[in-house]
Assembly symmetry: C2
Homo-oligomer: 228 residues x 2
């Protein structure tokens, strides 16, 4: 599938996607400087497209742009982490409610496939892929709810959550215990909106409490930030 079929997306989209994956997988550390020339060299593109990609990632809050200073991998603070999950708590439970009421058998099938792949990835120890699929589950749910505007917000929040989880992860088992997703899909299969809403609410709470948000991130943006 990655041979020569797709060539439609623009260069900046490709670079942004690749950088986003690298950030999610924690290969790019929070706070790391993203030099435009360097990135351009790596992907074989000019600074023009690198800048477009960085601007896009900046809007997704995966990188922070500082005027005349450059782009840095975002380093969500504890406050920001809480805010992201509070925003999700506002959006996702009622979206799950709608999704449960609207879900078709095909939708359930798609979600079930996501869960199965997630399980497989976890068993193989590929936590990065499991995390990605776990996020896709949430995004797919918003799509089922037929709320593309909310879905866009959720997609952004899920993306930021991945970075947050990578930063503040406390215990591996809490990654997004597929039990929660299993229960959710069952509620959706029987179109039990209220149950889905409650399950999602508690799922997000569990996710939040599984993070260690007591102290500041360990990696500082700069030495000054760390030593003052």
């Amino acid at each position: 599938m990655s041979g020569l079929a797709e060539q439609k997306e623009s260069g900046s989209a490709r670079v942004a996607e690749s950088l986003a994956v690298a950030i999610h997988e924690h290969r790019l550390s929070p706070g790391m400087k993203l030099n435009e020339d360097e990135v351009g060299e790596i992907y074989g593109v000019s600074r023009t497209v690198v800048r477009a990609a960085l601007q896009q990632l900046s809007h997704d809050r995966l990188v922070e742009l500082k005027r005349n200073r450059g782009a840095f991998v975002a380093q969500p603070t504890v406050k920001e982490a809480r805010e992201v999950f509070e925003a999700r708590a506002l959006l996702e439970p009622r979206t799950a409610h709608s999704a449960a009421e609207r879900a078709t058998p095909e939708d359930i099938e798609i979600l079930q496939r996501h869960i199965d792949e997630e399980h497989a990835a976890l068993e193989q120890g590929d936590t990065g892929r499991a995390l990605h699929l776990s996020g896709m589950f949430h995004i797919e749910m918003a799509r089922i709810a037929d709320q593309s505007t909310v879905a866009d917000f959720i997609a952004q929040l899920v993306s930021r959550s991945s970075l947050i989880i990578a930063l503040y992860w406390q215990r591996r088992a809490a990654l997004c215990e597929s039990h929660a997703h299993d229960a959710l899909i069952k509620a959706m299969a029987r179109h039990d909106g209220k149950a889905a809403e409650e399950l999602m609410k508690h799922h997000l709470l569990d996710l939040l409490t599984s993070l260690d948000l007591r102290d500041q991130p360990s990696v500082a943006k700069s030495l000054k930030d760390a030593l003052t």
Copy 2:
């Protein structure tokens, strides 16, 4: 204030802001093509900064970017309009609740000033400014709630709402009857979170029902769209 004091923001931010205002004030019609050379000439900047501005506006959903085709002023569909207000209904009532509980006397003062200016603008017939201030009221409320992540979403939704209202506006009086904001500020002054939440919920419902979302937008994207 517009003489020579501020010169800090980048060119693209300035262009984006100016275009956004023009779109909100309906001076740029939905569907209108935004030629990069033309825009650049108007603002005396190169296409480079115009493209950056357009990309930013695209992320705010105020313009639509079509690959190899260019940028067009967004033309929200009826479905999109409903979705925007449904998203606001998810976010704003509970944000108003938090804001009411946290609001300081200074916060109330700021909001009151917004309302006063809004009243003044309405009496002067400057509906564009009134609409802008009305939106600022909602954004300020999210700021008071100390939820900058949610505030960013609300800011984007308010911005899109302005365009939607400009498109689907039915009756002038419904613009954002300041009565609703007056009642909200009173609830906040007495830190009545529950009341603020309910008021916001109904305010948004009123806003939505004041729009004429029965049929498609009247302005076509191009002459061809209109005549074929």
